[in-house]
């Protein structure tokens, strides 16, 4: 990925919220440059969500009106463009850990802010409105919240003789949840793509996610076929899958990984969906990965929240954790991705991955498998590309899953799908501490800004929508922010084993609860000692040693070759240490 073109807008805090009127925005003519992340400053949250939350919020809180002197000191620091919507003095915040605190509650167009000078140091609760999942009659507790924007990347080395880039979806007419550019088998003309699209749920045809640089085995992703109860078939779809298989000369088989439990896949037939029958698809083997749907996952996270907040029951911690099944779900996802990666790497076989719509479990599986297979995605920039590509451009419905700006906190479409993916990545970093360029803080930052709404990255449901809202022009990308201060996110132990395939162990015995994320708000679970500064010191030390190595190498080459002209450059490429930018 090239350096972002618009870093100038980055270091500064994102600019103001100018509530956009949704309709007036220009249409989808955003330019997708293939290999860049770009950003422009602009609005932060949609006006919609702001007004809703603010209106709902203040009247419901217990407000005790009295005189105030401290109030001025209890106002929040404002971001550019942020303004105070309402303020209530002498509000009592009932903290689950330390009891009641009195202070001033301020609601701005961006955040909910509570500050009390009663305590030393002052007690502050600062939550962006996006974090608020629901407001109830009593108490102003906050929990998780919601959503921001994107761009796109296409595989390296494409087009080649078997694969081509098509612009059939330029206007998002083939599939409005797919990106404008798609990679499809070279010998399938655009006309046929349309017919394949009509057989795939929501027109999400199989498209290329990743191609093995040597074996040409591929990972393609799609949605379920519209088989239905009657067992419909589509000649075009069958031919299409055959073309995918043929593009890989190493194998005469293709694996279709259906992320769902087989029961669910069967049940989907009633709704017109289903799965590929092995009769219709010659040479294809269908495997179900038993990963549960978004509702099961949401429920699991809800249980997890219950056992970690506000109180942790010490004696039954582990069995309580087990009863949430959270880690078990994580395990199934990792195990599924592992099978995919293994088929591609060891079996040199191409795989097709889908679930029902191909935007939740499918995204988890393909992106994790790509992390295992390709060291590029384990770098910071590579990971950004991975998220942009597998999640944002292929239409993971961030808006719907997070529910930013939606009053209905109980909406059945909410689900921690992306969170699960990041959790899986974290589990991998635990098992391979030197294989990832980024650190834990990077992952936490991504998750935090999923809800902060400070960046446009995770707003909206698809590339199409983001284009319509003109988000790339009006918001800053999270990646720009991250790339402008890489040292905070760099793992000092990174060893760049980019050519190695990682096979994490997907076993309960090796998975851990990500306490640093899920339980971090519990004061008793505060990191005893953040090692963040230590990371930076190690990075500085490494850079220093790196420099020394270069100097010494230069010295050697100066000595060995007496001619002065060759003395300058060769040292660099031999350097054994990974350069820290």
């Amino acid at each position: 990925m090239e350096k972002s073109s618009s870093c100038e807008s980055l270091g500064s805090q994102p600019a103001a919220a100018r509530p956009p009127s949704v309709d007036s925005l220009s249409s989808a003519s955003t330019s997708h440059s293939e290999n860049s992340v770009h950003t422009k400053s602009a609005s932060v949250v949609s006006s919609d969500s702001i007004s809703t939350s603010a209106d709902n919020f203040s009247p419901d809180l217990r407000v005790l009106r009295e005189s105030n002197k401290l109030a001025e000191m209890e106002e929040p620091p404002l971001l550019p463009g942020e303004n105070i919507k309402d303020m209530a003095k002498d509000v009592t915040y009932i903290c689950p850990f330390t009891g009641a605190v009195r202070g001033t509650l301020t609601v701005t167009n961006y955040r909910l802010y509570f500050k009390s000078m009663e305590r030393d140091p002052p007690f502050v609760l600062d939550a962006s409105l996006g974090v608020i999942s629901r407001v109830e009659k009593i108490g102003g507790a906050s929990s998780r919240g919601e959503n921001s924007y994107g761009l796109e990347t296409v595989c390296k080395g494409i087009p080649n003789e078997s694969w081509r880039i098509t612009k059939i979806n330029e206007r998002y007419e083939l599939c409005d949840t797919y990106p404008a550019l798609l990679v499809v088998p070279a010998n399938i003309p655009d006309e046929e793509l349309k017919r394949v699209a009509s057989f795939r749920s929501r027109g999400r045809i199989p498209v290329l996610s990743w191609i093995h640089p040597e074996s040409q085995a591929t990972i393609t992703r799609c949605s379920q076929p519209m088989v239905g109860v009657s067992g419909k078939r589509s000649k075009e779809d069958e031919k299409y899958l055959q073309a995918i298989m043929d593009s890989n000369a190493q194998s005469h088989k293709i694996f279709i990984f259906d992320a769902r439990p087989s029961v669910n896949a069967v049940a989907n037939k009633a709704k017109g969906g289903g799965y590929e029958s092995e009769d219709a698809y010659q040479n294809a083997e269908l495997v179900f990965l038993d990963i549960h749907n978004i509702h099961v996952m949401r429920e699991s996270l809800r249980k997890l929240k219950e056992i970690v907040y506000p109180n942790i029951e010490e004696t039954h911690w582990l069995s309580n954790l087990e009863s949430t099944h959270w880690l078990e779900h994580i395990k199934l996802i990792l195990a599924g991705a592992l099978r995919i990666a293994d088929k591609v790497e060891s079996g040199k076989t191409s795989v097709i991955v889908h679930c029902s719509d191909g935007w939740d479990r499918t995204a988890q599986l393909t992106s994790l498998a790509m992390l295992m297979l390709d060291g590029y995605y384990r770098s910071i920039r590579g990971f950004e590309v991975l998220v942009e590509k597998e999640w944002l451009s292929f239409g993971h419905r961030f808006q719907l899953r997070l529910g930013h700006g939606d009053k209905n906190h109980a909406d059945a479409d909410r689900s921690p799908v992306f969170l699960q993916f990041i959790d899986c990545v974290w589990q991998m970093t635990r098992q391979f501490p030197t294989a990832f360029e980024f650190n834990e803080y990077f992952l936490i930052t991504i998750l935090d800004h999923l809800y902060s709404c400070l960046f446009g990255t995770f707003l909206c449901n698809s590339e199409h929508q983001r284009g319509k809202e003109n988000l790339p022009k009006r918001t800053v990308s999270l990646w720009s922010y991250i790339n402008s201060q890489l040292e905070d996110f760099t793992n000092p132990l990174y060893g760049s084993y980019s050519n190695h395939v990682l096979y994490p162990v997907a076993s309960m015995r090796h998975l851990e609860l990500w306490v640093g994320y899920y339980v971090r708000w519990n004061p008793r679970m505060k990191p005893q000692e953040p090692i963040h500064n230590r990371y930076k010191e190690l990075l500085a030390k490494r850079a220093e040693l790196q420099k020394k190595v270069e100097e010494l190498q230069r010295e050697i080459s100066n000595r060995s070759t007496s001619s002065s002209e060759r003395a300058s450059s060769p040292a660099q490429c031999v350097t054994p240490v990974q350069t820290v930018v």
Binding site: W317, A506, R509, E529, I531
Partner: protein
Amino acid sequence: MWWGGRGQSFNIAPQKAEPDMGLSGPKSVQRTGMLESRSCQLGSHLASGCLPGEQILAWAPGVRKGLEPELPGTLICTNLRVTFQPCGWQRSQETPLSSEYDFVLVNIGRLEAVSGLSRVQLLRPGSPLKFTPEEILIHGRDFRLLRVAFEAGGLEPQAFQVTMAIVRARAQSSQAQQYAGISLSKAGQSSGSRKPPVPLLETSEDWETERKKQGAGGWRVSPVNERFDVATSLPRYFWVPKRTLDSEVRRAFGHFHQGRGPRLSWHHPGGSDLLRCGGFYTASDPNKEDIRAVESMLQAGHSDIVLVDTVDELPSLTDVQLAHLKLRALCLPDSSAAEEKWLSALEGTRWLDYVRSCLRKASDISVLVTSRVRSVVLQERGDRDFNGLLSSLVQLLSAPEARTLLGFQSLVQREWVAAGHPFLTRLGVTGASEEAPVFLLFLDCVWQLLQQFPAEFEFSEFFLLALHDSARVPDTLTFLRDTPWERGKQSGQGTPNSLLGTPLTHSCLSGTGIYATTVNRYYNSITLAMTRNTAQIPGSLDSSQTSWFLDPPVLCGSSPEGL
């Protein structure tokens, strides 16, 4: 293939070229001399792996089963250990510590022979083995399981022989005497030549140096136990209040269980002291003078002290042993615990519960000693188990010095080795009933601290692992005696006295590149005392995965688990 935390001290080369190993971790696994062909003739290369005084009793070709990949090799029984030597692999001369396939005889917890469907436990040399075993299962006390299938085709007698040899050798080894004078080659050679960097606390100078280091001005080194006539389980020297005469010490100590009266463990720079002592001797009838002596020793110049009943809130020895057995059963490779029940099964062992109660108690005491500047006396009837554990933990929590590599070794030497923790009995070597791995519980506590304070410790978890494994290897006397007195009988005979001194950390490990892995990359030497709200919540306790499992994540080269 990465052989996990344990195989590092033994350089193992796989038979066929595999992708680079060890990339996932900090370890530098070396590969050395690869023998080209499989030689069933044991010949010189087998013997060359022997230690001084070690003899091969029997051997048989076989295949290591149970873990992928299966490995052909040779099962060898010597008078010291049972070892499986994979074909084409050669023991490195640089690493005398045990390998993944070495089972010191005393480490063998259970032996089973399998033939067809029958599975027999082998107990005594007398019990007849009615069939030629097809397979032998060796369960280690240290969470390992070695499963070897013998080759058929004319070699059955050898299989029978080696099995019987193991049974016999093991029976003989349970008489602990046989350790006398046995030492592993390298470790033995280097210790005599120079003074170990870790004081072994066998001379009064060592104690004096240590006392000065702690700035314990109100204390002196008492030689009253020089002949072990006050207590055989106490060291020759220990610290007593400056103003107390040796005669008073002798008089006072007589009223404590096994003569273990109050002694200084650690002096806090703020002025408070941490003492430990045994329980009062119930049958004693102290006169006035004796009472005064006891009081003055307990108070040691402080106006008031806190007497902590050590066993209160802590697990009993039986609890610890039971939890450890359950944990071991759970973590063995053939554990039947269902994957989805793993967490509750782990909880069910209560091991982590006990770790938590130890840490909590230690952190409470640490607050007393440091922030409140109160002197604390730890009292446990025997004064040889949890007193040492608590006292060590309190020091780890409160004294940055104890968290360095040398500081920690010196701490273990002082609070465990010199203080007479009955290692042999507790680790089950003597076969006595009081087996309870208190020391391993302590190591797990330290590991938990390491997880919570990654930048506060100079050593890494691999160092703890090395200690854990060494506790059962008869290479030094450190962990192979119950009392300083017994240990003292052996020293001076050319046997290295301490694993904690030169041998482990400086000679053996640095020779193999393992030294590097025992040092913690995150260690930040500048920081001072640790926050003390340590380990209150089980959520913050990890299951010590590296130490209890041997199947780590793999990079390329072997198929992923769960396929």
